[in-house]
Structure formats: structure tokens, C-alpha cells
Amino acid sequence: MLAAALAALLPLALSQAPAAARTFAVAPGSTVSFRLVHALHAVEGACGAVEGRARLLPDGGVQVAVRARVDSFDSGNGNRDAHMREVTEAARFPFVSLKAVASSPAPADGPPEPTVVLDAELTFHGVVRRIAIPVKVRFDSASRATVEASFPVSLEAHGVERPSLLFMKVEDRIEIAARLLLEEEGG
């Protein structure tokens, strides 16, 4: 989710600094997915219900906010998804969210798919952790961009009890990948 927000900020940063702030919204078709590893297999789950916005400020700075409902992730197995909701306490902490800024956006004449590092805070299971997320941005048009990012998250650092199968816990580190489509609001 954070990656998505970061991705949204990147396109804004890459474009020329506008006279007024421009806001981009995460469009349908965007996905955030996770991959976790168990001794016997690896599991992937995705969420298509992502909401987020990125704002390009007149001074070239970028603000990003992205979030997704924890109970909207689907790994293709109902039991497993229910287990994930249990360990992440989806009722008490329904959202995983990310807020970020990019203080040094890439110039407009940079590489065609620049990478911007977002300074972000990820809130997951009610625990806020600061992370740096590299985000790759590709402009499809002046008002549309695709941003991609991936970054690791520690379950235990966020106070999440690692799920187990056959008494073997999954690895602490899960990989989050985001592919966000951004469209300028009012554009």
C-alpha cells in the first residue's frame, strides 16, 4: 500500500513542478500483493481494492497516502485468508496504510522510468514503522502513470504472530509488491 502511494508521488515528482498542487488518484486495476514463505511452500496473495492519492506540490515535493483493507487480500484459499485475518486482527486493525513524502524528486528530464525513494511510514497491525521505499515510475501520458515498488516487511516488527502450518511458522519477512495506476484528478 505504501509502495502504491510512493508510486503515485513519483510521477508527480518527475513531471515539471506545477504552479499549483496536482493530485493523482490510484485508479482501478491497481494491485498490492504479498508473498510469504513457509518451509513447505510459498504463498502469494493480492488485493485489488486499493485507495490512495499522491499530491505533487508546487515546490516539487510529493505527498503520498495509500491504504487497503486487510480483509481484502486473497491468496486463493479461504482457510488461509481467514487465518491471516486472525493473526493480523483484521477487525481491530482493518487497514494497512502508508504515508510518505519524497523530498528529492527526480528531474523531468531524467531517465524514462526513474526510481524515487519515498520516506514513508507503514502502519500495519496498529504498529507504525518507518521505511524507505524505492519506487519506479513510468508516465503513460501527462496525466497517467504507472508506479511499481516492492519492499520487505517484518511480521514480528509489526507485532503480528507468524501463521503456522503443521507447527512450522512462516518466515518473518514477507515481500510486498505494488503496481499502481495513477490518474490525475480533474485531468
Binding site: 499530491r55 482457510n79 477487525a91
Partner: protein, 220 residues
Amino acid sequence: MRAAHAADRPNGERPRRLPAGVTEIVRPVLAAALLVALPASAAAQEAGEPRPPPDLDFELLPAAPAPAIDLALEREVDRRRRMLGFHQGLGIATWTAMTATVVVGQLDFDDRFRGGGDTGKYHGWHKGLAYGTAALFTTSAALALLAPEPYAKGARLDTATVHKVSMAVAAVGLAAQIALGVWARSLEGELSERDVAAAHQVIGYATLGAMTVGAVVLVF
């Protein structure tokens, strides 16, 4: 240190000194390099220090609804986790016991119908293992079926569904096994005893197969 360096050289030769003219040139260059390198090193050390927190005092999304603290739901989650933990342990024990039952059952069949001498030495073991397996299976199934479901799960075809269907097949097989086993024993000495025992044997392997599928599918 000097002695050690000399000793490191295979032929024991001493290090050569640079000519005086070269030394006069190298010294100021080294001094200048140090002046440049020291601040750079300090900056690198600073890079490892915590960064100031980002200014995230902005809102781009509508406020999220306040999280609901549902203590009853959390108690159900806790109960479900404990019940399914026991379910997994008993499931492994059930599969192990069922495998032993099938192996000893085959030995019992061979002893009685395939020239083993009809000693009956395996029959007690087979019967005991069979009833033990049935008890383990029933307890494990009850834990899964009675566990609360605090988070709703939609019906779908996935590995969990295959697990449940496989275990339902195994449950039917287990019930048939008990009935056929008792029936075969009641036909002792009659010609049809072997046929019923053979059906009991085949269904035993099928039941073990269904349970194996139901267990293995969980790792996919």
C-alpha cells in the same frame, strides 16, 4: 612491527626507501588527501545516524472508520486457533495410526486368507488400531467442525475445500470399514467371509488414500 614485516618477506629483504625527491612530492599530496578524506569519513558516519522523521502532517484520504474492538470475536479467534492447533496434531496422529492399521490389516488378511497359517496373531492389533484410529479421526474432525468461524469464509474451490471433501470421503470409508470388519468377522468360516474381508481391505486402502490426499493438499 618492522621485524615482523621483514620476516613476512620470503627472502628477508628490507623494504626499499623512496628517493628524497619523490618523498617531498608525495608528502604534501598525502596530507591533502587526508584533509579531504577526514570530513568525508565524518559525513559517512553521520549517514548512519537516524534521519529526521518525515513531515507527514497531511491528509489525502477520507478518514477511515474507527476500528471496532470486538472482545467476543477476539475470544472466538483465540478458541479457534487453539482448537485448530489440536486438530492438526490429532490429524497427524490419525494419519499415522491409519497407516499402521492398514499395514497390520494386510498382515492379518494374509495370515487368515493367504496361507499365513490363520494364527490370528495380527487380529487383535488390527482391531485395536482400527478403533483407536476411529477415535482419533472423530475427535480431530469434531475439533475442526466445532471450531468457531469469527471471520466469514465464502464457499470456493480451493485446497481447504479439497481437504474437507477428502476427509469426508475418509469419514465414510472409516464408517464402512468398521461395518465391513465386524460383518466379515461375523461370517467366520463361511465362504463369503473372504469376499467381505477383501472389500474391507480395498476400502481400507482407499480411505488411507483419501486421508493422504486431504493432508498433502494443505501444503499447496
